[in-house]
Symmetry: C2
């Protein structure tokens, strides 16, 4: 089903080039004994026409994925993100810190850069003088904020621990997900997959899609959409059978949230589902495993002082992944 879908849709451009880039990146991480997490982020588009004018998209701007990507780089003993306050009870070194392959929707929120998303960047700058050669400088009132963000960003650049891969459509995403996942096979258990992308459930097969822009002169429109085959199945069974796989479940109806998460774990046999409701997803999530359900939440004080739920999620997952990799504690 999934295989047939992938065969019927065209591959993204420069797939082989991207595969080489990812394999090189993974090799570099092996050299420094760093775990790797594939973070997927943002929504996928489903075209309604071949010469695409319209498409179905979703609410996801990539907040979860972009925020989460800022935290796995750090461990309790390594250089800590300048914006995370240390937790008092932190004693054990979960990890050396991760490298991240960030498979994200184009133009969605990006790690580090997202902290400037409410600004027009040009408002952060000014010309230092009247003449033609006057240099551009950062306005003094924005120095502190930019300095903090840039410091973390530059560290990740120096460490070469973040690789960016873009997608837009559903079919691009699925091909790239398959490609990134199979590249991670060589890492065995030390690969984590953090599947935060909001993947379309419905699509129009190419042979049922009109070629040209649908005309409004033809009156009201009926659309028939087929189900997208679930990729978690081949992902867990074939692409990265040894990896620590975390998927997400987002609902608007709280009555079905946990039951759907347990159904997914039972069906796909992966490690964990992060369950959340659309309206409260920045404040509370549930980490659902087959035998446990951990509530993670943020107090109003924590949120207003700039903390994010993704700090806690990543910390918890790093700990669980560490146990997954070394169940005997070695």
């Amino acid at each position: 089903m999934a295989a047939a879908f992938l065969n019927q849709t065209s591959k993204p451009e420069r797939l082989d080039e991207k595969r080489s880039e990812i394999l090189d990146f993974i090799e570099q991480q092996k050299q420094v004994d760093r775990k790797v997490v594939l973070v997927t982020s943002g929504g996928t588009t489903v075209p309604l026409e071949s010469k695409t004018v319209r498409f179905i998209d979703n609410f996801s701007v990539g907040s979860r994925g972009a925020a989460s990507t800022e935290y796995p780089f750090y461990s309790s003993k390594s250089r800590t993100c300048t914006r995370i306050l240390k937790y008092e009870s932190e004693t054990c070194d979960h990890t050396k810190g991760y490298a991240v392959v960030f498979l994200h929707r184009n133009r969605s929120l990006k790690p580090f850069l997202r902290h400037l998303s409410t600004y027009n960047f040009l408002d952060l700058l000014e010309l230092d003088g009247e003449n033609q050669d006057a240099p551009v400088k950062v306005k003094s009132e924005h120095q502190k904020r930019l300095s903090s963000i840039l410091r973390d960003y530059e560290q990740v650049q120096r460490d070469r621990s973040l690789l960016w891969v873009e997608f837009q459509s559903l079919s691009e995403y699925l091909h790239l997900l398959q490609m990134c996942s199979t590249c991670l096979q060589g890492l065995g258990k030390s690969a984590m997959l953090y599947l935060a992308a909001a993947v379309a459930d419905f699509y129009i097969p190419k042979d049922q899609m009109p070629e040209h822009k649908i005309q409004s002169a033809e009156g009201p429109l009926q659309l028939s959409l087929q189900l997208v085959p679930k990729m978690l199945e081949p992902l867990v069974k074939e692409w990265v059978p040894e990896a620590f796989v975390v998927s997400f479940k987002l609902e608007t109806n709280k009555d079905i949230l946990v039951s759907k998460s347990l159904q997914a774990l039972d069906k796909y046999q992966h490690q964990l589902v992060i369950a959340n409701l659309l309206e409260t997803r920045k404040r509370e999530v549930k980490l659902v495993t087959t035998d446990n359900c951990v509530d993670i939440s943020m107090t109003t004080e924590e949120l207003s002082s700039g903390h994010e739920i993704e700090e806690k999620i990543v910390r918890e997952l790093a700990s669980l992944h560490s146990k997954f990799c070394s169940p005997d504690g070695h």
Copy 2:
């Protein structure tokens, strides 16, 4: 039809506040005898659920609207945009320059800022030193580019000739379009409307929309979409009957492009349609009026030296609008 649609959909937040802001802006432009153009830009979204997880969107990232907005500020005798080369044959002063109300899709391309859209903004900056207090500065290799963009942006800020208004959904857009248009009534003929936004043709009425996220467990999906009433009709007849109204026609099939443009002019009785094909829209457009069709195109040399078709479009429209305002040439 249009009125019923507007009555049935909820108004955007803070509509009265935005109305006051726009009326003040227009008043300021009257004081300095500046014409005003309402530029609409980007695509509108059509939700599929009340608690919206999915929506229909379109290809438009706002290139046309954002690019066009950079040019109406300038006249041949005023301070010229630093990036436009003067055309040799320019002799007449079409205009004092316009003020722009930029009614745009949130997160779509913005005038001036769009020139940085291929960059991660953080890559343009660096920390000047190792210590905690090291200032953030612009990398020297990006100074020239930023300086040019910032100079034009700062001029527009000083002139207070650009007002930003955001929308996302179809219903927000239509309410804001009505509001902005009616605010422009007081300017009579000296108002231009440049309707570059890609407005949805189909939507799901609120009472036919499911409340919660549509479940994939229920199988393939059938969607029934109604036609969106055409707003050009009330816009031209009631909201801004005296203004110079320019709409756009985008098609993928060149055989119907001009005929559809003429049909629109005949139906809505506005001034001009800018007709373009999806695939060639940055290289060629047609300015269609009831008795003329002007082809505007860009050579490869012009495009590769950084010119844009919007420079020519705006120049031509400023000239036509000037004649529209003073048909006797006074």
